[in-house]
């Protein structure tokens, strides 16, 4: 069972940051290929995001799986909404949907 306090903390992280990635490692040094994919795509699109290193927080690692009924890390959230894991992010990126989605959410800084 996941502690309610952990779920509350995750909720608060997701609600107080526009773009959040729960990942293994950090945005600069991802420690897993799947987390790395999400970091690279967001970097490429120039999106600012908050990385949460679940390797440093075992309770968040387990909690975030229960939080959104998703069994794996990484997990991308935009404006409180769960977008998907690495496969979904990659697929959306390859089909050009991710950029549109992020722009619609107002989290993409358009180049002038």
């Amino acid at each position: 069972m996941t502690d309610q306090a952990v779920l509350d903390e995750i909720k608060s992280i997701v609600e107080s940051n526009d773009v959040v990635v729960f990942m293994k490692g950090t945005p600069t040094f991802p420690q897993c290929g799947f987390s790395s994919v999400v970091a690279q795509v967001l970097d490429y699109l120039g999106v600012k995001y908050q990385g949460v290193n679940v390797l440093e927080r075992q309770e968040i690692r387990e909690g975030v799986k229960a939080f959104t009924d998703w069994p794996t890390i990484p997990q991308l959230y935009v404006k409180g909404e769960f977008v998907g894991g690495a496969d979904i992010v990659r697929e959306m990126f390859e089909q050009g949907e991710l950029k549109t989605y992020l722009a619609d959410k107002g989290v993409l800084e358009e180049a002038a």
Partner: protein
């Protein structure tokens, strides 16, 4: 095909009747990583092409695939790459 692969294959066939399922063991690519136990069968990739995915968004499709193999995540399975498509999308 290893024992875990057989169980994944069979769980997917049960959950998605009539689907085209291509399961690939990618464990060798992850040998020595954290989460990759000796003996492999930890990292898989699967393509599921099923007409029941019509009208389901990506998250819902992936949840359905993950749910079908849920029991394996508490065993050897560590990562499952998923492509979940309708027959039309797969063309």
């Amino acid at each position: 095909m290893g024992e875990t692969a057989k169980r994944i294959q069979s769980a997917l066939e049960t959950a998605f009747p009539g689907a085209y399922i291509a399961l690939q063991d990618e464990s060798a690519l992850h040998e020595g990583h954290a989460g990759a136990p000796d003996g492999g069968e930890s990292h898989f990739a699967v393509a599921v092409v099923w007409n029941g995915f019509e009208g389901m968004n990506r998250v819902a499709r992936h949840r359905a695939v993950n749910a079908a193999v849920d029991a394996e995540f508490s065993g050897r399975l560590h990562a499952l790459r998923i492509r979940a498509l309708t027959p039309e999308e797969a063309e």
